[in-house]
Symmetry: C2
Amino acid sequence: MSAGRFGFELIRTDGSARLGRIRTAHGSVDTPAFMPVATQGTVKSLTPADLTAAGAQIVLANTYHLLLRPGHELVRDLGGLHRFMGWDGPILTDSGGFQVFSLAKLRRIAEDGVEFRSHVDGSLRTLTPESVVAVQHALGVDVLHPLDECLAHPATAAETERSLALTLRWLHRAVAAHRAGGAPGALFGIVQGGTSHAMRRRAVEETCALDLPGYAIGGLAVGEPKPALYDIAELVASGLPIDRPRYLMGVGKPTDLVEAVARGVDLFDCVLPTRNARNGQAFTPDGPLNISNARFTRDGTPLDSACPCEACQGFSRAYLRHLFAARELLAYRLLTLHNLTFYLGLMREMREAIARGGFSSLRSRVLERYGTDAAEAEAEAG
Amino acid sequence: MSAGRFGFELIRTDGSARLGRIRTAHGSVDTPAFMPVATQGTVKSLTPADLTAAGAQIVLANTYHLLLRPGHELVRDLGGLHRFMGWDGPILTDSGGFQVFSLAKLRRIAEDGVEFRSHVDGSLRTLTPESVVAVQHALGVDVLHPLDECLAHPATAAETERSLALTLRWLHRAVAAHRAGGAPGALFGIVQGGTSHAMRRRAVEETCALDLPGYAIGGLAVGEPKPALYDIAELVASGLPIDRPRYLMGVGKPTDLVEAVARGVDLFDCVLPTRNARNGQAFTPDGPLNISNARFTRDGTPLDSACPCEACQGFSRAYLRHLFAARELLAYRLLTLHNLTFYLGLMREMREAIARGGFSSLRSRVLERYGTDAAEAEAEAG
């Protein structure tokens, strides 16, 4: 199928971890890569220049949100999403399916598509595999995704089988619509199948039969136990073609990123670094901290003295704590910038480690700092 | 009295409008100047680098807010307000009086000072002329203000006289405390006296008798009619020594700035450009606009194509309207940056006009664009 100037090069491996590069019409992405989430066409509180400074090479935007507000036709008429949001680099959009199932109301799933009420204005909307592709064509993004059913966890074998079959039928329609549309972006397949090995194997086989330019692993990080997440990610990744990028949707914590890269995943998105920033959590090489913690009241040191971000170069923990306590907008901006700088720096460290064949020692180090219940408890408690 | 390295140079006049330069230990300020308001030690949503890019040379911080949170002693222990908030330029603090009278509860005014309950935590606090100076010494600011009583409008002649007498007694105590404190900042006098010419004349005479490094005009923009504001500003400014800067507190709209400069005022602060930005109002050379107006839905042009700010260089009105409708933090940041760039650009235009003897034509142009009820109605209605 036509994928415009999209391409993927696998540069080297270290165990199952992969160093690669995605090419798009809007520039390249070194993988493993993390995509900051620009839900409504903006990474909350940051400008595109901030994203570049933080090390971002690609961002994710949400089809569901943009279709409801400001509307994909408006974005198309104003020159596409890149121009609208002022981001020249690659943009990936999800299918909208996850938001329909998590945010919208009164949804009805039928063979043709899904009916729901907008969480913005209550209007009744329908998404079909064809319309979801058309929306993403209007946005003019570099990587598109097909409408899928995002099954809640837990699900019975019968539910999982029915849902997967629907997702696969929708995928065929999306591929046909994308071919017919003649737009340059690359349509990835989404591998569903819940926590069932058999269903996941079937999903890999039937999705890969379509020879798509990349593959997403969907339906994880939806409530299943962490071992199941890693187990299914490994199972799916090992079944995907080596010459296509693999994207684990909606994951995750620093430990999840490292564990998934160790299992052959290339691409990630998650709201964690940005959303948690707005709740006061800052990621550091020594583990997460919550800036509202009283121990930072008179702490004149930066969040991380080795971090190159604007927050760490200019401000103390005491000042950031003050801003956060006073609910100042600058607090959210500086913590968001810092957390993305941390995440994107971690991805760069992973790429460098794979390049020199030292991924396993980096993995151990990250797990040591971020893998303990203690570190998570600290972050939660603040 | 000791004012450290503070000084003022009057460079030239054009009618009553004055071109000058304030020197402080943290750099110079070209006047007429506008001070962005960093209420809690941050101009909401912006970094110090943003302020410099917008053209700011000095900022105002609120003594009242900082004393309550994070506390002036904490700021002092962390190296002073400049270091705490990461701003190397001059900082001016108000007296806290205005906030005590507008934000705090259960206040009691006595000869010694004022008692109030913190709006942050409900604690009972007392401010005296001496403690207000000590707070500002702890903050380490370049320009300090004495505790004053900010009289509500309207007030009777007897109330005005009683209040002014108290403010003058407090001023003497503040001057003594500042001398005793040995800190380098410059303590300005605040001229009160309501809308009474007689009281204002007495205030000018008694305040100037103390030979202070600068003078603030207080008690205006508190509900009096606009002609009274201009009238009193003119009366006071004309009575102040020509070799000291004159600061009109809490003013104002673009027309107010131009009208006050025409009457000999040098220094301004106001929350209008920053607060209104968060309500969607953007200032442009053609008058104000409200970005939430439906006519901007598909407007692909910037707020002001001649404006050098990041908002105008990178984004369309349609995008800003989308961000504002979606309550995205970036909307507040970009509109704030734009409005300050506009205000600070207007001040620069005024300085350039005075330098070439063309202030009156600039004044006419600003009044034409910003002085009509129509423009204000547009801004209000959005």
